[in-house]
């Protein structure tokens, strides 16, 4: 058992492995949460958390260009675009009750019959 | 000079942003320009190193005996589509970028560059697939295409890691053959998704049956031809196909499933899309045999399948399931195309199947010919059923369907009886039907080209010499 811990500590000495264990583990948890979350808003937040954590990993992997691009494009813009889409999707589902959805179906059928 | 094939469509696409309808009028001229450039100013056997960097470091565009015929065929199809399809605003700009991307994916000699062009084609395909309010089909295609694109990226980077360069020629020369199958599995997954081999091609029926005159042609014929080129470039010319028997069996299963699917479809659009899947799966099954005879027959089969599906889908887009009572010419073209797909003698389809079966018997593999014949029988079944139904639709009154009306000539009196096919579409479908018949009589026209392609595709030596020769 002790040599296991020794190798663990020895591995954690250099920054990349340490970061990749800590940040990677956190990302795996967030990824699982993003996939399994009930509400879409939570999984969206988990997704942007994954992107931000991946920025940390890119910095440790000596890739500053990719880190900046991932921060701006990957987590910044992707989350904004998906949030806008989510508001449009949710506002449609929340604001109109089941009733409107029913009329939606009827209007579809009427549309087809015309 | 070769780069003009990609730069000119892109420049026109960027120039056509301000006004929405502008792109539509640029498209035929750009396609014509490409064809003229190809015929008069370019000969195969050239390499262009973009930015004057040596081929291994930068990107090299390779124009050799394999890519030259494919370029001509694809640009011819784009010209036909530009004339026949009714493009709403902004679609012209998209199709201009599609022209550049398709030319790019055929010309490029670089793994990552073909990934970028594949992604451009996929993004345009998602938008075009969402035409006619078919967002669900487009979204399913996006998910499949997204996974396919990521696999291709993984494949391209692992080729770089193992061979040190991204150029196709050098990479194939350097990578040791033991690990090539593992790397090729990534590319294989992408091609199984993009070439609609059934278990991974489940997105195709929804996308192709949305009744638009652009989607099935742009994706079904133009993109499919360029991806068959890339498939044969990567798996026949550069690397070899990992586990070819498995791919062959998968494609054969896909043929049968697609045919059975097409048989039980009630709507013409879905039947045609399943027929397209079975056509392309036949080509993939034949190409996976890696024999020059069979490959040339496969390319001939591809030519016939693409041209006849072009006619079938265009007429389906305009006439829907209303009969040919009011458009006799369209009916003739439709019947010619379906007979050619079935393989009726005196049509191109007959020679396609004939050469394929002959080549397969020479190699005495009997599984694929059996399946091709079964598929032909099933195809004959439902295509003739549809032809009969459409020709004799006149008896019961045609049910009103607001089909494609906003064509170039805005006809005000929208009389219900007279279904209007734009003049361009009529001309194009008749022209293509005519080519099917002409090739039916003189198969040599196309067969020599495909023999030439097949012989060149299978040996890697001239391709590598071209790259080593260096660019102009």
């Amino acid at each position: 058992m002790t040599d296991f811990f020794k190798s663990l500590i020895e591995m954690l000495r250099d920054p990349v492995s340490a970061m990749s264990v800590l940040v990677g583990g956190l990302m795996i948890v967030f990824a699982l949460f993003a996939v399994e979350a009930k509400k879409i808003v939570d999984s969206l937040i988990a997704l942007s958390a994954i992107s931000l954590l991946s920025v940390l990993l890119f910095v440790v992997l000596k890739a500053p260009d990719v880190a900046i691009t991932e921060a701006a494009v990957g987590s910044g813009l992707a989350t904004a675009v998906m949030l806008f889409a989510l508001w449009r999707v949710d506002s449609k589902a929340d604001s109109d009750s089941q009733q409107i959805k029913k009329t939606n179906k009827q209007s579809d059928e009427a549309g087809e019959k015309r | 000079m070769i780069a003009l094939l990609i730069a000119v469509p892109l420049a026109f696409a960027f120039a056509s942003i301000p006004h929405e309808r502008l792109g539509r009028y640029f498209l035929p001229f750009v396609a014509l320009f490409n064809l003229v450039c190809l015929f008069f100013f370019m000969q195969p056997g050239q390499i262009l190193e973009v930015g004057k960097w040596p081929a291994a470091y930068g990107i090299a565009l390779v124009l050799d005996n394999v890519s030259y015929p494919f370029l001509i065929f694809v640009n011819f199809l784009i010209l036909m589509m530009a004339l026949s399809a009714t493009l709403e605003n902004r679609y012209g700009t998209l199709l201009l970028v599609l022209t550049a991307a398709v030319n790019g994916i055929i010309l490029t000699g670089d793994f990552f560059n073909s990934f970028v062009f594949l992604e451009i084609i996929s993004v345009i395909a998602y938008i075009v697939a969402a035409h006619k309010d078919n967002a669900l089909g487009a979204f399913k295609y996006l998910i499949f295409g997204g996974i396919g694109g990521t696999m291709y990226l993984l494949g391209a980077v692992s080729v770089y890691v193992k061979s040190g360069t991204l150029n196709m020629g050098y990479a194939a020369f350097i990578t040791d053959p033991l690990i090539v199958p593992t790397i090729c599995i990534f590319f294989l997954i992408t091609f199984l998704v993009e070439l609609k081999v059934l278990p991974l091609g489940l997105w195709a029926p929804d996308v192709y049956s949305n009744g638009s005159s652009v989607t099935p042609i742009a994706l079904g014929s133009i993109v499919t031809v360029s991806l068959v080129y890339l498939f044969s470039r990567i798996f026949l010319n550069i690397f070899d196909l990992p586990s070819p028997q498995l791919v062959g069996i998968l494609a054969m299963i896909s043929i049968i499933l697609a045919e059975l699917g097409a048989l039980k479809q009630k709507s013409l659009g879905r039947a045609l899309s399943f027929a397209t899947i079975s056509g392309v799966s036949t080509v993939v099954a034949a190409l996976s045999m890696r024999e020059s005879e069979i490959a040339s027959a496969a390319y001939f089969y591809l030519f016939n399948d693409v041209v006849s599906k072009f006619i079938l889908f265009t007429l389906f887009a305009y006439l829907g399931e209303r009969g040919f009572k009011s458009n006799k010419t369209a009916g003739i073209a439709f019947t010619f195309a379906s007979l050619s797909v079935v393989g009726f003698p005196m049509f191109a389809g007959f020679w396609a199947k004939y050469y394929l079966l002959k080549a397969l018997f020479q190699v005495n593999s009997y599984a694929l010919p059996a399946i091709i014949l079964i598929a032909a029988v099933i195809e004959a079944g439902y295509l003739i059923k549809w032809n009969v139904e459409l020709w004799y639709k006149g008896e019961d009154t045609p049910k009103v369907q607001d089909g494609e009306q906003d064509s170039e000539m805005e006809n005000e009196d929208d009389e219900v009886e007279e279904d209007f096919i734009p003049f361009g579409a009529q001309v194009v479908t008749l022209l293509l039907a005519l080519t099917l018949v002409v090739v039916g009589f003189m198969p040599g026209l196309i067969h020599d080209q495909t023999m030439n392609i097949a012989n060149n595709v299978l040996d890697f030596r001239p391709y590598l010499d071209l790259i080593l020769k260096g660019g102009m």
Partner: protein, 241 residues
């Protein structure tokens, strides 16, 4: 049932990745760059013979940008970036087409915050300046056209969040068009002058100076404007609906 099926698929793929693919790629870290193309690209010796590149000292190399990643993205493999720009171009047009086809024309409104209004007034110019800094210094510091353009687009997003009347006008379309056309024109100019498409025809100067990378800063400025205009169009299309 779907979960079991999903675990099976993921498991098979992971087994292939770890079992067959991992052994053939070099273990993490011990990569010898000599066998890779990147060695010559780092030392900027693809056409000339090898001599060590020194920051602020070596002059008139085949490619002058200090940031090697930028030199790859814009100089050695600038055809990729041309394709890259058209991916974003098509995505922006696609969002435009699909947004205009939406039947329920409903603009997303945010309630106005006094604090946000005032702070945007202060912060926005800095964001735009920072975005411009990123893509102008693309060849010296990390980042380039894409993150710079996106920062500008996010600045405009902040402007949208802070006051509702703000609309992205057609100016963005024209900026996008002229920047895109500019990039292709530079490629064609390279063709006219150097005989080959997308050649770096301007002198490259000393590594590390501002004007040291020939065409690279100009190309990245074009890309920065184009990406900024495009992505602000995408966001405004999503919002206007």
């Amino acid at each position: 049932m779907r979960r079991v099926w999903a675990i099976l698929v993921a498991g098979v793929f992971l087994y292939f990745l770890v079992g067959q693919f991992l052994p053939i790629i070099p273990t993490f870290g011990n990569v010898d760059l000599f066998t890779r193309v990147a060695f010559d690209i780092i030392n900027k010796s693809t056409t000339t013979n090898y001599n060590a590149v020194e920051f602020k000292k070596s002059k008139d190399l085949e490619d002058g940008s200090a940031n090697v990643v930028t030199s790859i993205v814009v100089n050695y493999r600038s055809f990729d970036t041309l394709g890259e720009v058209s991916v974003l171009f098509c995505a922006a047009i696609g969002v435009g087409i699909l947004a205009s086809m939406l039947k329920s024309k409903k603009r997303i409104e945010f309630e106005e915050h006094k604090v946000l209004m005032i702070s945007t007034g202060i912060v926005l110019p800095l964001i735009l300046l920072f975005g411009a800094y990123i893509f102008i210094h693309g060849h010296l510091s990390p980042g380039g056209g894409f993150p710079g353009g996106t920062t500008i687009a996010l600045g405009i997003l902040l402007l949208m969040l802070s006051n509702n009347e703000f609309k992205v006008t057609d100016v963005a379309k024209h900026v996008e068009q002229s920047a895109g056309a500019g990039y292709v024109v530079i490629g064609l100019m390279g063709m006219a002058i150097g005989g080959v498409f997308l050649i770096n025809f301007l002198p490259t100067g000393v590594v590390g100076n501002l004007f040291s990378a020939g065409v690279v800063p100009i190309v990245y400025t074009f890309i920065g404007f184009k990406v900024g205009a495009e992505l602000s169009n995408v966001i405004s299309d999503l919002r206007e609906g």
